[in-house]
Subunit: 363 residues, 4 copies
Amino acid sequence: MSHNTFGHLFRVTTWGESHGPALGCVIDGCPPGLSLDAPFIQQFLDKRRPGTSRFVTQRQEADEVKILSGVFEDDRTDGPVTTGTPISLMIENTDQRSKDYREIRDRYRPGHADYAYDQKYGVRDYRGGGRSSARETAARVAAGAVARRVLGEDILLRGAVVQIGPHMIDPKNWDWAETQNNPFWCPDAKMAAQWETYLDSVRKSGSSTGAIVEVHASGVPAGWGAPVYGKLDAELAGAMMSINAAKGVEIGAGFAAASMSGEENADEMRAGNDAPRFLANNNGGVAGGISTGQDIVVRIAIKPTSSILNEVKSITRDGEEVDVRTIGRHDPCVGIRAVPVAEAMLACVLADAKLRHRGQTGH
Amino acid sequence: MSHNTFGHLFRVTTWGESHGPALGCVIDGCPPGLSLDAPFIQQFLDKRRPGTSRFVTQRQEADEVKILSGVFEDDRTDGPVTTGTPISLMIENTDQRSKDYREIRDRYRPGHADYAYDQKYGVRDYRGGGRSSARETAARVAAGAVARRVLGEDILLRGAVVQIGPHMIDPKNWDWAETQNNPFWCPDAKMAAQWETYLDSVRKSGSSTGAIVEVHASGVPAGWGAPVYGKLDAELAGAMMSINAAKGVEIGAGFAAASMSGEENADEMRAGNDAPRFLANNNGGVAGGISTGQDIVVRIAIKPTSSILNEVKSITRDGEEVDVRTIGRHDPCVGIRAVPVAEAMLACVLADAKLRHRGQTGH
Amino acid sequence: MSHNTFGHLFRVTTWGESHGPALGCVIDGCPPGLSLDAPFIQQFLDKRRPGTSRFVTQRQEADEVKILSGVFEDDRTDGPVTTGTPISLMIENTDQRSKDYREIRDRYRPGHADYAYDQKYGVRDYRGGGRSSARETAARVAAGAVARRVLGEDILLRGAVVQIGPHMIDPKNWDWAETQNNPFWCPDAKMAAQWETYLDSVRKSGSSTGAIVEVHASGVPAGWGAPVYGKLDAELAGAMMSINAAKGVEIGAGFAAASMSGEENADEMRAGNDAPRFLANNNGGVAGGISTGQDIVVRIAIKPTSSILNEVKSITRDGEEVDVRTIGRHDPCVGIRAVPVAEAMLACVLADAKLRHRGQTGH
Amino acid sequence: MSHNTFGHLFRVTTWGESHGPALGCVIDGCPPGLSLDAPFIQQFLDKRRPGTSRFVTQRQEADEVKILSGVFEDDRTDGPVTTGTPISLMIENTDQRSKDYREIRDRYRPGHADYAYDQKYGVRDYRGGGRSSARETAARVAAGAVARRVLGEDILLRGAVVQIGPHMIDPKNWDWAETQNNPFWCPDAKMAAQWETYLDSVRKSGSSTGAIVEVHASGVPAGWGAPVYGKLDAELAGAMMSINAAKGVEIGAGFAAASMSGEENADEMRAGNDAPRFLANNNGGVAGGISTGQDIVVRIAIKPTSSILNEVKSITRDGEEVDVRTIGRHDPCVGIRAVPVAEAMLACVLADAKLRHRGQTGH
């Protein structure tokens, strides 16, 4: 994992600042012959696009993706396919408000990367967060769409928000279809209604709140991943923690496993048809770093947006104490828009694992 | 992160099976001129060595480390120093009981890597878990000792167990000195006593239990780490999740941040002497993927040992249903011995971040 | 070295086909605070631009570079500087003649990548060579300009053509200034005149010819590079052999060293002022894989362009035997335009070596 | 290519100094299920072992390899197989003469890495060259043996010396069988006799001489390798130039291509049975960075050993001028023992290319 590159055989390099001319990514190592055009990628970008409900930022970005290289249509009638060469994707920035960022320039916003970037680089593009802006995740979502082509139709990736602020869904109510019926990707219809009220109050109070996102992959065959540092869960943890505002990652039972006994935590096995049947999925589909054929289950803790209207104590670049409030168009709960991003990272990790597994073992 | 290699500039490659002749690691990229001899490394290995109390495995391994390359003493009187070339460390396996492993060979132990390895490789060294054995972590601890030399005396790394089974310490009782007074690295003297009773009952019942480990790094300067996939917290998450039995990682407030408001979660800043003063450390010392100068704080969930005396349902390699119990010398709570391992991974991540930061910025 | 990525700390990823909408590169790991704007990069692109004399391809490409990310001007008056985040550079393709490429599509041009790409990928963008086109080197030249900023003013990079076809320069006539006075980067004025006649005849006969390029770096301090696989000469060899049409690389005396005795080949040393004085430079500035402070000297053999008007025997995709001639705008001696490309690769290798050296040793 | 690691999916990390306790390598990413035992590896080590004739160093090293991990025999009767986990190989150093190295310690031997290492690291194990010793290549040869298992029986790797000093073989006399009949791997019986006389005179005069080594791979399918920086010839060039004393690399016609016309250099194609028939092999089996199915042909220039009995001018660490002669057991022509090393590097590059190709394309 290099600074702005993710993956080993399926490698994604992202670039771009919030208020530069564009952002994008280069995908190296994508297999040839996969069907790929801009509309396919666009549908995933549309899922994370700002401005889709009052619960996400009101910034208006079309987030229109262009494919600059790596596909070729020739005279086939079924659309362009990948050629095995680097796929360059670009999204132009269109809604860059010309507001005065001078205030942010000289004042560190607590919880943001402002101070840390200045300490590291001595210079930063402070407009809209620059490189640390959540806009960077658009490039990840675009890459994730390509990764889905690598995985094929047999692997199903899905995501949901399972907690907003202190309000957690009831797992007994889980219905994947429900995630399409509300603006929160909430699988629990009852909780979705409660979140609507809660988030309205958060938004009106000028504050923000955290969330927990859960993503699943079904249909992953046993054998992907590797021992030690290449463990599939280690790759997933690194990938998910690299999402903006992520501060925790769990696989399967995760932190709850700490309270379990060995018997409770064991995923007992029974004979199945093509593959064993597991009586539980506490290991979240990964044992010893290698997939077991069970569903891959990952949960990610997303902290509340640091950009809030309410004042917090801070300092200026010159070390003077100030109170900072961040006026602008922000997500009251950035966890919502993290769902398609987490799905994309899951897709990228699995696509990479598939290619590495095939490379080493031929399967 | 390659399969068995960790890090970018400070690179650790580990090798070895539980019941092979030896295990070890090669460290490439260590700066030259650092004082390093076997006794320095040995003290860290002794912290994770089996057989030190009745709460850890009774396997008797000296875990004596040999330095095979990368240091040179010449005629200096202050001992050998690193030369900048690869440091090869080896630990011979001495207590490989000649018991019959045939039972494990043909039966998959639930929660173990047995089934997944077989699905991936079609062949595995099943003796004592082979490559997936916790013995592999001895090599990590040895590498971590070298990483500490890279970090120098100004950076203090410490670890503790904060929960065993359902029994969590009281943070108000936290006393680092206390971790040296009990066999659990417990910073809460009162809880240590309770754990003793609890673990004795777990052990006698033939079961096992999970734990939560917490590691801290103090003295890390602001500016280490990088944006996006090279985020310091992403590197930490990948590193920690690669530890055997780890199923969750949190940085700072972690999952608790999901329930917080933006104001609560913000680490407010005040003017300090050399550096800002932070009024909280919810971000665990990392903002935007870059260190802030606050303490780095990481928590890791360790699942209960899957090797238990009690029977669990499973299948054989041929798909027949069986009941499996694992007789042998096992840790009732593998989380205890995970403390020096987590410290070592923290050391390795930070050493790598230091060198990369210096490479890119010259600081 | 990944497929389309070059370097370790100073990492360049290139993308783009000859007849796609654009080509470009992403540079990750560039230090912050370096002055960088488009005109600075453009001057190097102008050196390799087609259409500058009758001895290079007559394709008309402005090759205008755009900086899409990684620099920030703020309100400084001395222009934009790098921010330490990825630098995305893009060059749009403008002169894509709509000629019928069907002939190339179905017939393999001997010496070209046509057959090999088809065997690997099963699909390829055959228009103008697609990814294997020499247009890809524009992205390298752009990256090389950034690398020069990393190296600073004290390191001087220069290149020349020293042989075209069987006509080799006389080293006694070497004058760097002369390389600016003829369209061949020829350091020997007398030979330049001869090449003019020779290349005119090659061009008129519908053929092409090979060349040898030599690049020098002066001012490189002793200590860059590393032992074994990270040898500076190994990195240089890999970099230079990755240039289109390159089939040989020499460092210093190179193949001539095979005929030398140990005494002849030794670069004897005498005491100097700040550094030793070497009485020869047969090792081309690198000993044991590490720079010595001498000039880095690399020679690259460039094969004759495979695109020629004269017919050569080949086969179609269906295996039928055909005669192929390549009509179009081609370089009679692609070695000429390889000079700025080889300089760029030299710059990239050295920039990477500088950052890695600084990372490991702090110098 | 990291400092002491080679390869991407088939990764070799070497370690060890000439006069330390041992040297070795760790191979990560080797596919599972391949037959591998120590005697198989040993036969290749025996080919490069010192002391086999009067034309190579008289150092007496058994170079006995031990497999420390990554293979498992279980109860199969056909010997151990690889498990897919890291293979650790170790060779103990046995003939470390306790001679006084103080002279080398304080005096830089021209042509050696002495000065460069000191400038880089400030410290070095000077005994016998330390890490820069040709002993390091034993680890490469061991790794190459494993790579051959990855390649299988259908790929034939062979090497020869084609020039010693100014004496070049006659390609018309080439007979592979002949390479087994003389101590030079010379494929030209007539030239072998001449070299014997020549090398005796070189040896007696206290000098040394250079050589050119040529290695071939037959049976490599079309499609291995990749465009741009991952070109198969770029990987080969980097690999070969990383061999001690290598100063030049050619693929196919190499530098001779510079003098050719496009028609001469084109490898014309005719219809074949399973694959096209090429009428020449000027591109050395690689076009556009991808294998064509032709033989891979690589030549490497090896400079004369810098360790000679005759005096050369040099300086001490303190900058005083001295004359240096190197007494000891040295190869008069280190190119001879480079043959098995170059074969090993060829094997490693191809094994890696095979796995990467399989990973990306599934073939």
